[in-house]
Structure formats: structure tokens, C-alpha cells
Amino acid sequence: MFERALKGLRLQFGTQMLSVATVALSLFCMGAALLALENTGAMVRRWGAPVKVTVFLAEGVSLEQVDTLRRALTGLPEVEDARYVSSAEARQSLSAGGDATVASAPVELFPATIELRLVPSAVTADRVASVAARVRRIPAVSEVETYRGFTERLRGLLAGGRAAAGIVALGVLLCVLAVVSNTVRMSLAARLREIEVLRLVGATRAYIRTPFLVEGAMLGGVGAVVAVAVLAMVYATLRSHFDASLGTLLGVHPVFLPWTVSMLLIVGGAGLGALGSAAALRRGLQS
């Protein structure tokens, strides 16, 4: 079957190579979108996880209660450090820039807090939200700030990226199907006599169809391999030039697609090729 498929590929080599190039370009776009998504995800993981929580204390809380609460919070696995900040310290901190109005404001305006520093590797946004909800129920606590706004914005960015990648994927899917389908249809048209002879001598439907399916899968698969290879080269080139500055700027070092995703692209390309070929055969062989 492979031999017959290769024979078919050789028959219209120029057209087939053009198809491989088109499929490769489409899958390259998809791979690039996935690569961007992968690195955005790493950024979200780096920056999106809450690292600081402020626990605002209720008025009239005694120092003993504060100490008990601080020790209890320090015992949580997600908390690296818990520091008590009194009202006076808060006012002093805010007026550190030399703002006289703040410095002269009544100390009651600045609620005492316990500032929690979290362990970055041990916390997730959901976990922190759960801890915050429990802490809020403690009578000595008036409010808990988890600074989720920034996290939510980053997550929104990632969700937008995912949606964009989804649209790119759909476009690529349709493009690959159309390219392979049209290529196989041209191949069918050029080999009508061959198909007629095969039917005449008693070839089964599967015997006639399989080489065309293999041909489609090979077009898609080779296109995908080329796409992943070019993407890897482009990534390596960019990384060698910008890795240090990107790492400093973004806080994460760029990574290439996981090998599973790369393999999925190649297998998916071959599958799409076979699917496009099947679509062409469905119409082509009936006529």
C-alpha cells in the first residue's frame, strides 16, 4: 500500500510538494499559537498565583488575640510568613513618601493588619480564596484582601489566548482538510484510468481507496513534521537572541512545546490529511 501511495506521490511531485508546504504553513501558525499559549500559561503560573494576602483586623482587637491569630495563620502550609502591622505602623508606612496630610491623619483611620507572605509554589488562587473565606469568619478579622484583580486579568489574558488559539486551530483544520482534499482530488483525476483498470481486474473498494488515504496521511504528516521543525528552529533562534532579556522582563524563561503536543501536531496533521483524502474519495470515486 505504501509503495502504491509513494508511486502516486511521485506522479504529481510538484503539486504534492506545494500541498505539503501549504499544510506546513497552516500547522506552523497553529504551532506558533500553541507555543504562545504555552508561555503565556507559564507567565500566569508565575505571576497569577497570589503571593500576598492582607488580613484587616477588627477594631478593639487585643494584642493577645492578634498574636494567637498570627500564630494560627503562620501554621498554614501556604503561609511563609505572617507579620503584624499596627495602625501606627501602617500610617507611618503610607506617609513614608513625605505626605504631611497622611502623617497628620488620626491613627484610627489606618486599620491594623496581618500581612501574609505566601509560599509561591504551594498556593493556587482557589486555595487562597478558600483560606480567605475561612479567615473572614474569625471575629477578630474585618476583611481579607487577596489581590485577585491582577490574577483575574492575567487569567483573562490566558482565556483570550486560548480562544484565539481555538480559532486558529479551526482555521488550520479547515485549511488542511481543503488542501489535502483538493490535492487528492487532482490525484484521482490524473489516475482515473488506473482506478478504472483496478476495478476491471477485481480490486476491492478498500484496495483502491487505501493508497489515496495513505497519500493524504503522508501529505498531512510530512507537512506537520516540517511545521514543527521550522517552529523549533525559529524558537531556538529567537531564544538565543532574547532569552536573557525575556527572562528578566517576563519573570519566566520561554519553553518550547512539550513533546506530547509536538507529537499530537504530527499525528493530528496525518489524521487530518487522511480525513481530507477520505472526503475527496467519497465524491471522486462515486463519479
Binding site: R193, E196, L198, L200, V201, G202, A203, T204, Y207
Partner: protein, 263 residues
């Protein structure tokens, strides 16, 4: 040229699983019963055709252009289906074969056309071998049987040549080699000499007669009167959609030939 008894025994492997009917060898190879084929409702091509062909026969089918010779052959190798009646091939009604069984019917039939129907970018060998490859035979077996078939048609040692560079007569020989390489029960020839000059036509007819002498049933559709005159074989004339059985030999052509405008 001699074939073993086993290879002469007809094996109608119509079904994909290789159903083998042992009684088939004792039945007429082909029986057409009241066959009707209509392309235009007001002018049936074949109407009530009855015809029986025994194993090992050589039968000419003749008639004017458009009489239905090709249609008759197409019904036999199931390129077309009957609208009514039955066609029994070794006792099995091929009109009722499923789509999946048709390829298995065709493996028992060799077909030769006027326009050769060869794949121009394939070699002689590839054009002949394809008939065996679809059956899934081992390459070693394919090679030896193709060599034998090419030798029978006088093309031994020409396997590597592209068919597109061969003459018309040589291309027809390749087609015949493809038709006989599977050792089919029957060979259908649809105007096989239509594109050849008279000398080559007689040459090709001789080849079909040799094939027939080796035990294969041959149905030879032609409107070439010369061939009908030089070969005293059974003759069937398709006249007004019906088969008229003429006697064997030139004296048996009857009035049908006299009054029909054969090209």
C-alpha cells in the same frame, strides 16, 4: 500452453470469504435468461435475451454498432446491471451480487477492450501484474505468472517497457496478457481488433483462438466481417435487442448477416 486439471476447474470466488461451489464446474459457464436492459424507456437495448454458453466455447457476438454487444458484455462483468431476467455465471445469478462481491466476480473474468484500457505510465509488467496483485498473491508467484502470460502473447522480455511506447498491436497483446494472467474461466473481448489493421486483427484473433484451445471460454464481440468469415466459430447476432443464434461456420451466418448493415 497446457494447463493443469486443477487450474481448469472453475472456482467462482464471488464472495469475499472465498465461497467455492464444486457443482459450478458441471454447469454451463454462462446462461442469460430473458435479459432486459433499458437505457431509454422507449428503446430497450436488450429485450428478452436468452443465451447459453458452454465451458470452453468460442462465441462470436456480432451486430451493427449500437446493437448492444458491449452492453451484453458489460452485464456479464457487472459494469451494468440487468433491469429484468437472470444471468447465471456457473449457476450463480450475478445480477443479485452485492457490491462487495462484484470484484470477486471480475477476478474470474478477463476483459479485453478496443481501446486497450492500459495505464500509460505503468510498464508492461505492471499493467499485467495488477490483475494478480489485487488478489494478494505473493510477488514471486506474480512474477512467474506474468512472465508466462507475456510469453503466451509474444511479449516475453518486454516487461520493463512503458506501454505508452508500444504499438497498437503490442498494447492489445498486453491487454490480453492482463486478461489471461489470472487464468479466468471466461475472457470477454469487446471489439478487440477495432483499432488494428487487418493483418494485426487476424493475429489477435489467432491469439484468442489459442487461449480458447487452452480451455478458456471466449466471447468475442466484433462487427468485423472478415474475422467472422475466417474463423468458423459459433455466431450469435444481436438483432433488435434479441440474440439470434446462427449455426457454426460461415454457412450458418444466415439471413441475419445478409440483411444487417454490418460495418
Amino acid at each position: 500452453m497446457g494447463r493443469s486439471r486443477a487450474s481448469q476447474e472453475f472456482r467462482p470466488h464471488f464472495r469475499p470469504e472465498g465461497h467455492f461451489d464444486r457443482t459450478a464446474a458441471h454447469k454451463p459457464i454462462l446462461v442469460l435468461e430473458n435479459v432486459l436492459k433499458v437505457f431509454r424507456a422507449d428503446a430497450p437495448v436488450l429485450r428478452g435475451v436468452d443465451l447459453t454458453i458452454e465451458r470452453g466455447e468460442f462465441v462470436f457476438v456480432t451486430g451493427p454498432s449500437g446493437a448492444g454487444k458491449s452492453t451484453l458484455l458489460k452485464l456479464i462483468y457487472r459494469a451494468e446491471s440487468v433491469d429484468d431476467g437472470r444471468i447465471l455465471f456457473c449457476g450463480r445469478d450475478i445480477a443479485r451480487l452485492t457490491e462487495d462481491s462484484i470484484p470477486h466476480l471480475r477476478r474470474n473474468i478477463g476483459v479485453v477492450f478496443q481501446d486497450f484500457r492500459l495505464v500509460p505510465y505503468w510498464t508492461v509488467y505492471e499493467n499485467v501484474a495488477v490483475a494478480l496483485e489485487v488478489m494478494g498473491l505473493q510477488p514471486r508467484v506474480v512474477r512467474s505468472r506474468v512472465a508466462l502470460a507475456l510469453e503466451r502473447v509474444g511479449l516475453d522480455g518486454r516487461g520493463d517497457e512503458r506501454v505508452s511506447v508500444l504499438s497498437g498491436g503490442e498494447q492489445q497483446r498486453v491487454t490480453i496478457a492482463r486478461a489471461i494472467v489470472t487464468e479466468p474461466a471466461i475472457v470477454l473481448a469487446d471489439e478487440p481488433t477495432g483499432n488494428l489493421d487487418p493483418v494485426l486483427a487476424l493475429d489477435i484473433l489467432g491469439l484468442f483462438e489459442e487461449i480458447n484451445e487452452a480451455g478458456t471460454t471466449v466471447i468475442f464481440a466484433t462487427h468485423d466481417r472478415t474475422l467472422l468469415e475466417v474463423s468458423p466459430r459459433r455466431l450469435v447476432v444481436i438483432d433488435d435487442g434479441r440474440c439470434i443464434e446462427a449455426r457454426k461456420g460461415l454457412e450458418g451466418l444466415g439471413d441475419a448477416l445478409e440483411h444487417r448493415a454490418l460495418n
